[in-house]
Structure formats: C-alpha cells, structure tokens
Symmetry: C2
Subunit: 372 residues, 2 copies
C-alpha cells in the first residue's frame, strides 16, 4: 500500500512539476491529457471524469500523508524544498504539497451534449484565491481541448467569486434567488449558447354564471389608468404551474369563488413589458361551481357578480380597442359560435415528460363547441 501510494503521488506530482528555474504557472494543466480538439467524443468524455478522478486520488494521498503512511517525504521525492503559493494580500505561504497540487487543477465539471462544460456548483472551492487560480487553469485547459461553452453556476454564498469570474471574461446569463449563472463562449464563432426564459405568463378568468353575470373585481394597486374599474380577475401563473390550474387559482384567491377550467379563448402577446421581457396573457373561460364571494384584501378592493351587459358598457372597455375585442370574443364563446383551446395531457418519449397540449379539434363529444 505504502509503495503504491508513493508511486501514485509521484506520478501525479510529476505532471505538475515546473521546469527547473521556472515559476509554476496556472494553466500548465494543458498537457495533462492527450484529449485535443480533434479527439472523439469518447476521449472527451474521459476528460469529463478526469478532474473528478484526480480529486479522489489526491484525497486519498492527502489522507495517507496525514496518517504518515509514506516511507519518505514526497516533497523530497519530488525534488522541491518548499511548495509555496500566493495567498491573500500577496503573501506567500508554505502549503502542503498536495494542497498545492489540488489548487491548480481544473474545476470539477461535466461535458454537455454540445461540446461545452458545466462546472459542478456543489464542488466549487471555498477559498477565493483557490477559485481564481483554478478558474484560470480550467479556462486554459478547456480552450486547449476545444471546448465551446462553459456554464458556471455560482450559488449566492459564493457571491465573492462573481467579480473573479467576470474578470476572466465570463458573462452573466441569468439569475435566480439562490444563484447566478455565468457563461463563457470559447470559440471564435457566433455564440450558440441558448438564452434564458424570455416571457412572463399571465391568465385572466372569464367566469359567468347562469344569470349571465360575470365575476369582476376592483383592484387596490392597478395604476391610475385602471383605477376604480371593474375587471376580470387576472394574475401571473406560478413557477411550473399549468395555465388551467393557474386561472382557477387566481379567481379563487381574489374572489373566493371555485371554478372549473373550460378553455383558452384567446391569448395576447406583448413585448418590453417587465424587465424588457415579453408577456403572454391567456384569456380563459371558467365555469363557476360556487357563488359566495370572499376577497383577498391585500390586493382586492371589492368583487361582485355584475350583469354582463353592465360590465361591457364600462367606458374603459368601450373606449379601448383591445378590451372591446376581448369581450367580443368572450361573448362569441358564450353564444357557442366559437371554439376555444382545451387542455389535454400528452406524453412524449423524445423528452420523457408529460405536458399539456391545447387544441380545439372539433370532435362531436366537445359539447361546448357548436362548430363540432
């Protein structure tokens, strides 16, 4: 065991040994593998597990050294007196040789299907200086093996790494509360990395009862142009929420009324709405299954069942091209002269997921659509 550990450590260290008289540089990891840009994808998949394997090996070496299992000091074997690294504030510090080795390896990452790499956010170094060194080493290595896009996800507790990544040329891609995703496009060709989400999605519920009364609300915070008007309940769908679920949920939250989803009657597409992103708004027909109103007082001033004729006669509808058009559509839908899009669960093997397909094939059993 001892002999093999020593041999392993020597082998690993020899890969890192700086030529005599020259300072050890980050980025010398380029010669670690023979995986070049012309290698097959199999060879590159070898590189994908390379840094992981090295990490485990070093972990074992480190553990053995602590337990003093080596017969000789590896530093003697490797022909160096001290292994020093530049710590914070420009100070050189003597570190254990295995730490020096570990600090200069590429970041843990896996290959994606498009010739890029995804850095493992769970295995980032804790130390800022180590991250900076390894990032430089990694970029040099990935460039040398012909990688294309690099995805670097920095959790919010690694916020200090953000300026370090930007300094090396990474760009912001997107962020969520818990992380910031940065990317680096290596080749000298158009950036093919996919963009992030571009649309917010809202729903509006057209809920009408047997007395031809529509469920309407007055909002507390709606901007001066809609101050005091009676409007349909609307809202954004939640993350990963279905349109047909979100519409009923918004109506329930704002008014207390339970509904069943019927169909999507139309949708509106607008741009540069919030954060310069686009907006898709789905107008949905819902059937009430309760009538008692209980409003959400944080957002809603009042809610009531209003005769449809009175609702559409409001000036804000009469004087607005879009609102008028939407109401025309809803009324056509009521008169069964119109077929909306109904939701259907479908399964696909190509992406292994269930999703919802909205369409209106006019089938005889579609009792809501007289066009059937």
């Amino acid at each position: 065991m001892e002999t093999s550990l020593l041999d392993t450590a020597a082998a690993a260290a020899s890969l890192c040994r700086a030529p005599a008289g020259m300072p050890r540089r980050a980025g010398s990891t380029a010669n670690f593998l023979s995986c070049s840009s012309s290698s097959s994808s199999r060879d590159c998949r070898v590189s994908a597990s390379y840094s992981h394997s090295i990490s485990r090996m070093l972990s074992g070496v480190r553990s053995a050294a602590r337990k003093k299992l080596f017969r000789a000091d590896p530093a003697d074997l490797l022909g160096v007196d001290t292994w020093s690294e530049t710590g914070g504030a420009g100070q050189h510090q003597q570190v254990h040789w295995w730490t020096a080795l570990e600090h200069n390896f590429v970041l843990e990452a896996t290959d994606d299907e498009y010739g890029g790499v995804v850095v493992d956010a769970d295995r980032l170094p804790v130390d800022k200086a180590a991250f900076a060194r390894r990032l430089v080493a990694s970029l040099s290595y990935w460039k040398s093996v012909g990688k294309k896009g690099v995805w670097l996800k920095l959790p919010v507790d690694r916020a200090e790494f953000v300026p370090l990544a930007v300094k090396e040329g990474f760009k912001y891609h997107h962020a969520e509360e818990s992380y910031l995703m940065l990317t680096y496009w290596i080749p000298d060709e158009p950036n093919m990395l996919p963009a992030n989400a571009s649309h917010q999605v809202g729903v509006g519920g057209f809920v009408i009862n047997d007395q031809m009364e529509v469920l309407v609300v007055q909002e507390k915070y709606c901007g001066s142009s809609l101050d005091g008007v009676w409007k349909l309940p609307t809202g954004f769908i939640l993350a990963s929420e279905e349109i047909y679920t979100g519409a009923s949920r918004e109506v329930k939250e704002e008014t207390g009324v339970d509904t069943e989803f019927v169909d999507v009657v139309a949708f509106r597409h607008a741009h540069n709405v919030a954060f310069q992103k686009s907006d898709l708004f789905f107008i949905c027909m819902l059937r009430p299954v309760s009538s008692q109103i209980k409003i959400d007082e944080t957002e809603i001033q009042a809610a009531k069942w209003m005769p449809l004729e009175e609702f559409v006669k409001q000036p804000f509808i009469q004087e607005d091209h879009m609102f008028q058009k939407i109401m025309d559509i809803c009324i056509q839908r009521l008169r069964k002269c119109y077929c909306g899009l109904t939701p259907h669960h479908v399964v696909s093997r190509f992406d292994d997921r269930t999703s919802t397909l909205y369409y209106n094939v006019a089938e005889p059993e579609d009792v809501n659509c007289s066009a059937a």
Copy 2:
C-alpha cells in the same frame, strides 16, 4: 454668495454631525427627513428627489471649496479636526469634509408605484468602499421611511459590488448579459415583488404545398432520441419577436423556403425544461410562397419536401403519443375541420402599447375555417 454657500454647507453638515465623542456612523441619515411611514405619498415623493437635490448641493459646495470661495474653513465651522474615513484594507485616510458628507448619503433612487425604490444604476458610486457605506446608509433610511421593495441593478462593470450587496441582505432577482438585478424586501410581510420571466417560447412550422408534401428537416444536433428523424422546422423566437414572424423566420433560416403565416393550430406547455423554467411551444400553419431549399449547414443536416403520408408513418411519430396528436391536429386543420388562432394587432390605452391578439372568432370572411 460666499455667506450663503457657507451657511448651506454648515446646514448640511450639521445634519451629519456626530454627537461629541461618538464615532460617526453610517445610517444616521434616518433623521434627515421627516418623511415617516405614515407620510402621504406626496411627502414620500419629496424623499425621492432628496438624494438628488443633496447631490447637486454638495456638488456646488465642493466646487466652491475648490475655488476657495469660503471665508472660513468649513471644517473649523463644523467643529472637527479631521474627517477620516475607512479606506480599503482598513486604513484610515483623511478626506475632504465634503467627500465625507457625500459618501454617507443615500444612493440615488426613485420611487416606484408600489412603495418601493429603484436605485439609479447610472449614478452608482465608482468606489467599492463608498458604495458599501452608502448602501448601508440607504437601507437604514429606506427602512425608516417605510419603503417596501428595493431594486438594485448592478451593471457588469460593478461586479465587485455584488458580494457587498449580498452581505447586506440583497437577493438575486434576475440577470442579463450586462447587469445583475438584486432586490431587498423590507417589510415583515410576504414578499410582493414580481418574479422575472418564467417561460421560453418556441415555434414549429407546418408547411405543406399543393402536392400534399410537408417541409421537413434533419438536424445536426438533436439528441440521440431524434437522431436521423425528419421533423418540422422548429426554434426559439428571438427577444421581442412575434410568434407569426418567428415561425416564418425559423423556416427560412433552416430551409431557405419563404412562407406566409396562417394560424396557430395548437400549443404545448411543459415545465422544468431548461434552467428549471417552463416552455410554450406554438405549432403554426404556414403557407409556402417559394419551393427551393437551401439549408443552414451549421444546424441542419438536410431538408426536403416529403409526402405527408410518408412523414406521419415515421416510427418516431407513430410511437409517440404527443407527436401523433400534433399530426392529427395538423391534418384536421388541412381538411378545414379545425380553426386555428389568427394574429390581430390591437392597441390598448391601459398600457399604451400595440400587441397581438390570437383568436379564432368564426367570421364569414375567415376563408380558412369551414366552421365559420
């Protein structure tokens, strides 16, 4: 002029004067205004221009001091020997008194309609230490005047400010290539700040000619499950692009064929697709207005006009619930037993914008839909 300048400077400085013997602390801006949480929105709008006015005043004071327009040294007047600040690396440095004043004021910001503030990204300090101090001062001030949400947009050239903001409790909201948006929710109640975009939007073009041949492509990079299949041209719409424009553009880019948009026949809604976001995919009917094929070789392996019957008989369609359903819909559409959603420009006063409304009111002039 001189007297008034001195009086102004003294008045401003007196607001900042630390009680004798106590260190000056950031956050003492709380007593600058009488605008409390119970103030009217008008009073709070006064606060919105407060920091801007103070900046301009200080700018004038600074300019006057440089020109030695004061009769007496304001530092003497203000009763302090030196004004020191903590610079980088814990070193105290003597700074001009007006710089010390300026460094402790709130960040330039404007109020939004919901009781929150939006920090002016174009007027951020350049210096890290100044930003850190002013951020602390600002938060203290905004809390004292009952502000709710704080929006802090940090351009990428201020990446060094990111960890400083996170340290003060800011959370990531979203990011684009040029900036990172962070937010801070002040009140002890549910966070009401709106989320960012949640969906990517894709389009697929069903293009069929008079010979009942459908335009199909083989992609170069499509994942192993779709390797070698002939599929409809598909792609993501661009930022601020219309669905009806994007569908024709994707077909043109991939195959060289020009088309006219007819309608949306169906759409698919899926979740946790990319970056845990959702996906809306619109299947669009397009009419070809040219026939010659010229492929985009960066993404497309091959393209051709394929007899519809042969296309739908492909195993990947026959053996997949979703693809089969989509083809059934497209064929129904061809047979005019189905009405898609057509795009219509609408204008609305409520948000002052033109947008596109997709619907299928069965009007007699809609010659594509026999349900009309």
